[in-house]
Every structure is written in C-alpha cells, then in structure tokens.
C-alpha cells in the first residue's frame, strides 16, 4: 500500500534521514523503531508532505505522492498524529475533531450553513470510539497530556483514513492511558481495517501490536522484518537494544 524507497533529507548538511526504505501492505501494523534522533519523525514528515525529501520516492496505492503538500496527501487517505501535541488550542474538543470531519467532507468552502448543524453524528461517534465523549465541550487547551494525545488520534480519524501514521502515540501517558491507547490502536486495525504505521519507544508495545518492524538508526534503515527477525538481529542489538548477545524475549 505504501512504498518508500531510499528517502533522504538533511538539515544544514546533517543527514536526518539517509536512504530510508519501508513498505507497508494493506491491513498491516508496522512499527518504526530507533533511538532518539534516529529520524523517525522526519521520515513521517517526509511521507506526509510536511517536509520535502531531497531524494527518494513515496508511492501510495500505486501513485507517486513524493513532495505533495500535506493537504493533498491527506485527501488521498493518509492521516497522522503528531509526537509533539499538535491540536487546535482555541477550539473545543468537539470542534477539533469536527473541523477534520468537515474537511474530509469537502465542506470547508461552505460559507453559510452553521457548522453546529454539520457532521455532528460522525464527530460524536469518533469521540465515543476514543473515549473523549465526557469532555466533548471542554477547550482542548485544558486537557491533560494523555487526553491531548488521544485527541491527536481523534483528529486524525476525522479524515476517515485508510492509512494512519502515529508518531509515539503513548509517549508521556500514564500506564492506564497507555493500555487504553493500545486497545484503541488494535481496534482501529481490527474493526475499521485501517493500515497503521507508527513509532514507539516501548518495545513491549511494539512487539505486542506490530506485524512487522523497521529499525532505523542515524537516518538509515537497518532492518525491516517480522518481530522475530528483529528480536534476533545482531545489528539491532548492537545499535539499539544495548548489545546483549541473547535474543530478546
């Protein structure tokens, strides 16, 4: 479904992403792992058009989307959440998700119908799915960090995506919030059939929900394979998992 080939991007000569490759098939959950600063977020920015790659190619559903602006990428069915919380602070929780739904419904040029009458059911359904219904009318600026991370995902779901990119969805969440968030991701895959690409630091989470894993170090892909492949790969252990000899279990 998504085919990323030898993507590169540098900042002032520093190669943040260097020849990274990745492929995701329809229905899969794929994790990108790697130490801080490995270039995971930059890779996601390149795929979604927030940054333009210097070289390489991004193909989605057979179509070359390299370097398209984010709104074009989104309209082709890719949504994402951000690592650093990136919501609409002056809008209410409901409005945060609603504006995303309205945008997908191509209604943002509608100048005269009150928004208050549009996209209500769908927005409420998403808020219900992710468990934000109780704080529906609060302002997003007043949310806890964990709630805001969930809102991040809810906004992305407003686009009714076929393909969802999650950048460290559980970072900074309490253990309970993390459990709920993992359940949510599993449901998105199983119930809605959304293909998911995500990155995450907690290896337990990664191994428990991913079909395949891509390991990134210093901007490059080291290995791409199943959980078992990655667990036993010597390079990964040297570079990332602390260099112990035994296979991780």
């Amino acid at each position: 479904m998504l085919e990323v080939t030898s993507l590169s991007k540098s900042f002032d000569g520093f190669k943040a992403v260097n020849n990274a490759s990745l492929s995701v098939k329809e229905g899969e959950v794929v994790a990108v792992i790697g130490p801080n600063g490995a270039g995971k977020t930059t890779l996601f920015n390149l795929i979604t058009g927030v940054l333009k790659p210097e070289s390489g190619k991004v193909v989605f559903k057979g179509e070359d989307i390299t370097g398209l602006p984010p709104y074009q990428v989104c309209r082709r069915g890719i949504s994402r959440s951000f690592q650093v919380v990136n919501v609409f602070p002056k809008l209410s929780v409901f409005e945060n998700v609603q504006v995303s739904v309205l945008s997908r419904q191509k209604r943002t040029w509608n100048l005269f119908t009150p928004s208050a009458k549009l996209a209500i059911a769908e927005t409420d359904r998403i808020l219900g799915d992710v468990g934000l219904m109780e704080i529906r009318d609060g302002t997003s600026a007043a949310l806890s960090h964990g709630e805001r991370k969930v809102l991040e995902i809810a906004i992305a779901l407003g686009g009714n995506p076929e393909f969802l990119i999650l950048d460290e969805p559980t970072a900074g969440m309490s253990p309970e919030e993390t459990t709920r968030c993992i359940d949510l991701i599993k449901q998105l895959k199983e119930k809605l059939g959304i293909t998911i690409l995500f990155c995450e630091h907690d290896m337990e989470i990664v191994f428990s929900i991913s079909d395949r894993i891509m390991v990134m170090v210093r901007g490059s892909t080291i290995i791409e394979g199943t959980c078992d492949d990655v667990r036993c790969c010597q390079e990964v252990q040297d570079a990332y998992l602390g260099g112990s000899d035994a296979c991780l279990t």
Binding site: C74, S103, F112, T113, P114, S115
Partner: protein, 313 residues
C-alpha cells in the same frame, strides 16, 4: 451548544437594534452622525478581525480596503454617470479584488513578514491615490458626492448605514460559524495541522482576505453616504493602526469586540482631538494599556468576569 448561545443573545441584539433605530427620534443630528460613523467603523474593524482574530493573518494595513471601497463608490458616482447605486457595488468589489491581489502577493510570507509587505503594498495604493490628482483629486479628495435622495438626508444616511451594517455583521457572523469559518480558525490555531487534515490553508486564507476586503470596502462606501466625502487619509496607515487597536481593545476573540472597540476609539478621537493635538500619543498609551491590562479586550474581560460570578454562585 452554539445555537443556544445564539438564541440567548438574540433578544439583546434585537433590543440594541431597536434602540439604534430610535436614535434619530431623540438625538441631535451630530450624535446621529457620530453613531453612523461608529457603526461603519465598527463594521470595518469587524471585517479586519475576520482575518486577524479568526484567521490569524497579520493584516496590518486594512484601511486600504476601507479607502478603496470609498473611492470606488465616490468615483463611480461622480465620474461614470451610471446609477449611483452601482457605486455601492463597485466600491466593495474593487476592495475585494485589491484584497485578493495583495493577498496573493503576501500569502507566501509568514505572519510578521506578511504584515510588513502588506503595509508596503497598502502604502503604495495610498501613494497612487494621493498622487493621481486628475483622477482621484489627490490630497483634496472628493467632496459633495451626490447621493440618491432617499439616503442623502441625515436620517436617510443613518438608516442606510444601520441596515447595511447590521446585514453585513450578520453575514460575517454566519461565515465565522460556517465550516469555512471553522477551517479558518483551525488555520489560525495550527496551520501545519490544518494542512494535515486536508485543508488548503493558503487558499482558504485568500478567500478570507477577499471577504475581509469586501466588507472593509462596504464600510468605506458607507462613509461616502454619511460624510459625502473621500480623502487619502482614509487609507493612511495610522487608520490601520487604529483599526487594530479597536480589535485588541474590544477583544479580538469576541465577535462584537471590534464594534465595542470602534465605539470607544471613535468617541475618544472625537472628543480628545478637540482638547489636544496629541491624538497619536493618546492612541499609543491606550494600546499599551490594553496589552498590559486587558489582553483579551473589554469583552474578553467582561466574559471572564461573568463566568467567574456564575461559578461562584
């Protein structure tokens, strides 16, 4: 939720309109004139706030559209020989087009740079109007613009201004509450995220800039009706500064904030400039006081005050 807020406020809006409709019955001519000036200036400030407060665009030179609207109307009436009513369409449309053109040139730049380039381009428009003596009357402006009988009397011009302002304010309100308005506020809050949910941010902002230009132009046309004159100072940058202060003073997150700000500033300008020549100084002090003491403006302050009272009960 939103519609219930609207319904709660509706009686107040109607009451205010009724009072305004009755003004000419018991107020002096001068005060009727002043009220009309407040209304149209408030409309101009509200149209600025459409892009400034709701769109997050640093429109630093909004007076240009006010001026273009006024000149468009006055020139159409005095030079074309066509129906004067046409002037009231030509003025705002011209302002919308200028808004779009300046927008297209500036939109690539971010925030402050947008504002800077906009000031330069706006000053260019001002300079053209100021210098093109044979067409615009230069710094003399145009006086005694002939108007259709029904709006040429003091009361006629007042009612015309009141109705057009009320209708324009209603249209702008609907737009802010529409999906277009939702997207616009999303862009203000977070442009990157807006693009990531499929919104073409620059294009939305360009339409917003044209709309703001249009209603700025409507306000300019109304000035022609109320004052019968146009002059280049209508699009001088100091007026733009006043408009920004009106938004900040009244509260740029409250829909009626700029209207309240306009009332305060117009009244102060009328009375203070009678006492002292240092109007610019007074304005500067007001600006600083607002930034320090009322960061959310008068209405923002009242809103919070009322909410606190309610919570304490």
């Amino acid at each position: 939720m939103n519609s219930s807020v609207f319904r709660r406020k509706l009686p107040w809006v109607i009451a205010a309109l009724v009072v305004l409709l009755c003004f000419p019955l018991f107020l002096d001519r001068f005060y009727v004139y002043l009220t009309a000036i407040i209304l149209l200036t408030g409309l101009c400030a509200t149209s600025l706030n459409f892009v400034l407060g709701y769109g997050g665009v640093f429109q630093f030179h909004h007076a240009v559209f006010y001026g273009v609207g006024a000149y468009g109307t006055a020139l159409m009436i005095t030079k074309s020989g066509l129906s004067p009513w046409l002037g009231f369409i030509v003025g705002p449309v011209a302002a919308a087009i200028v808004g779009l053109v300046i927008g297209v040139i500036c939109i690539r730049l971010s925030k402050l740079y947008f504002g800077m380039l906009q000031i330069s381009l706006g000053s260019l428009v001002w300079a053209i109007v100021y210098r093109w003596y044979s067409f615009t009357g230069g710094d003399d402006g145009i006086h005694g613009v002939p108007l259709p009988d029904i709006i040429s009397s003091s009361n006629g011009s007042y009612y015309f201004t009141l109705i057009v302002t009320a209708v324009s304010m209603f249209i702008l309100y609907r737009m802010i509450k529409s999906p277009f308005g939702s997207a616009l506020q999303g862009i203000r809050d977070n442009p990157v995220r807006s693009e990531m949910i499929g919104v073409n941010a620059k294009l939305q902002q360009l339409l917003a800039l044209s709309i703001a230009g249009f209603f700025g132009g409507v306000a300019g046309s109304l000035f022609v009706v109320v004052d019968n004159t146009v002059f280049p100072d209508m699009m001088f940058w100091t007026l733009s500064l006043e408009l920004i202060i009106m938004c900040l003073l009244g509260g740029w997150l409250s829909y009626l904030g700029p209207m309240v700000g306009a009332a305060v500033i117009v009244l102060l300008r009328t009375y203070v400039s009678g006492i002292t020549g240092y109007w610019a100084l007074v304005l500067g002090v007001i600006m600083m006081a607002v930034i320090f003491f009322l960061p959310n403006g008068v209405l923002g302050y009242l809103d919070r005050f009322v909410k606190k009272k309610v919570r304490n009960k």
